[in-house]
Symmetry: C2
Subunit: 348 residues, 2 copies
């Protein structure tokens, strides 16, 4: 039995999983698959709305009116520890216990935080105004910088679940930041793959990808002065798209306020297009950046991946890691381009 | 645009995906998430029922009454090419074309086959009688042996989708065999992981795992003379379980008829327990075996993984490959043990 949350490493392929029996007590107010958001009708007061600050642990970051007190109203964005965390700062147990070289475990140590993205009870991230949307991407940066100060943490996963089918459990728009004592599998795979590419070619694979996509144009959805949005070349789900900076940068922490605003504007436009093209699908977005406290790396390049739930993965996907999509990334990009709202940002 | 199905390699992490625009034309008679099976009410004749053999391509294997003609009634099990394949034996295009070392593609070559597991229109694999269930595992072996004869194929993925949420699209119980010109990512990960373990210890990690699980017992769900069913130590989904032979064997092709019958009996019992413990969840099972034409390997060990859809993976899972479960594998094993039907097989 595992009363404490615990990381466990798959004995064969090395994938880390979290066994967190306590987490089953969290409230889930979004049920079923449709509609994507239950915009009203939640049965209890939303714990993320102003006036309910007592319902969450104390805030670790807030953008709030000057003079307003912490953990009370007056905020525009709040970051709070998750009340029902999958990992905990106080998790006990033996550090990296190995049983016969087969069963490796380590305590379910970590921090789970929620970024409440606005004070209004909005379900849909595209309902955020440009300033609110920008604040989300500034808050990501600030938390990454702060979390890097804890030497026990190796990686901070920054992601967002939109819609019940993508794992969202509460209808007030929010992101999550889960910081881990390990570097998770998908990031390792990217670090190793990009390092091998760099060793062969002397170049960053993401920089090459961006240059080729811009030259070719077939998978380009939108661009701004410093960012590019393209559909994924080898997608897991149809309409999967990636947003990456055109200038090489391994660490998201280095983003400026101006660039965060530009990034937010670009992502927001493509999400509006996705909602139009695919009738508001559920989706996740996640930030892939270098591990905490990493120096700038020549081979790695931060980016954001957006994964809409446009199909149901089956045995080939789950059993073998081989994804089938029935809409080509080129067609998806054309559809998304056709559905883009006008760019309201000043040029330059 | 991709009129032809195509394999594409992710430029960063190397994962292969299939872009198969044609496949969107396949019929889907199972819709929505609940109920797991639409046992009646399909709007067109089931293409897998006797009398509808003209609705599928010609059979490549059948267990049928002696004297009955191919592609007519009289069969107990039929293997036919998929009418709506994700990969095709005649896929054209340039072999392994690389654009600037970034975008690697190869034609969507391969074979997609369907194992129609019984003549009756049964939706649920546990409704198969013991002989029918055994035939499925014999047919897997026979097709693996036959497919190994095609030197263009590297791997045959053998899997089953049960329930719409696990990707099933037709309600007559069937498995799929998709043969690929590449070894898929999840198998590579297991081959590499088990090879590294063997290099360190001189032992097979699966043999070690089986010995430790048997000694400990906490995750053992059931066993027979030659096979073991255990819940996964680091699961992706709660109640995930693996079935593996107790004697080392890398190649499923080597299984005897008697062992196939024993394996089928064990898996069937645990599936009945899963249906009881979790109210008939959707699930996939998949066979992990060595690549086609592989010699016997000291480090690899074939096994079957059963992955029930007991949660909705969200951003941490999809974005970082880190799975959270809220039911410990030890508790899941105890529940499954408690729900096992009696073993009807003769002892010995």
């Amino acid at each position: 039995m595992s009363p404490e949350p615990e990381f466990r490493r798959d004995p064969v392929c090395g994938r880390w999983a979290v066994v967190a029996p306590e987490r089953s007590h969290r409230p889930i107010t979004l049920e079923g698959v449709e509609p994507r958001h239950r915009r009203n009708g939640e049965r209890r007061p939303c714990p993320f709305c102003p006036g309910q600050e007592h319902d969450t642990p104390d805030e670790v970051l807030a953008y709030r009116a000057s003079g307003s007190a912490p953990d009370g109203p007056g905020w525009q964005l709040r970051v709070v520890p998750n009340k029902f965390p999958a990992v905990r700062p106080d998790a006990g147990g033996a550090f990296c216990a190995v049983e016969g070289m087969v069963f490796l475990t380590t305590p379910g140590f970590g921090r789970a935080e929620v970024v409440v993205e606005c004070a209004e009870h909005l379900a849909d991230p595209t309902a955020l105004n440009p300033q609110q949307f920008t604040d989300v991407f500034r808050a990501y940066r600030e938390r990454l910088v702060a979390l890097a100060g804890d030497p026990q943490l190796a990686y901070a996963a920054v992601f967002k679940n939109v819609g019940a089918e993508a794992g969202a459990s509460l209808g007030h728009t929010h992101s999550q930041i889960i910081s881990l004592p390990i570097v998770p599998e998908a990031i390792w795979a990217e670090l190793l793959g990009s390092e091998a590419f760099h060793a062969r070619t002397g170049r960053c694979v993401f920089c090459d990808l961006a240059a080729r996509e811009l030259a070719d144009g077939e998978r380009v959805v939108a661009r701004s002065a410093n960012f590019l949005a393209v559909t994924a070349f080898a997608p897991r789900y149809a309409y999967e798209f990636w947003v990456l900076p055109l200038q090489h940068s391994a660490r998201y922490e280095a983003i400026t306020d101006a660039r965060a605003s530009e990034l937010a504007g670009l992502i927001r436009r493509v999400l509006v297009a996705l909602d139009r093209a695919q009738a508001e699908p559920a989706y996740n977005w996640f930030l892939h950046t270098a591990p905490l406290r990493s120096p700038e790396l020549a081979h790695y390049h931060w980016h954001i991946e957006v994964l809409p739930r446009t199909a149901r993965p089956a045995g080939l996907e789950w059993g073998y890691g081989c994804f089938i999509t029935t809409v080509s990334p080129e067609r998806a990009a054309a559809e998304l381009r056709g559905a883009l709202p006008p760019d309201e940002r000043p040029v330059g």
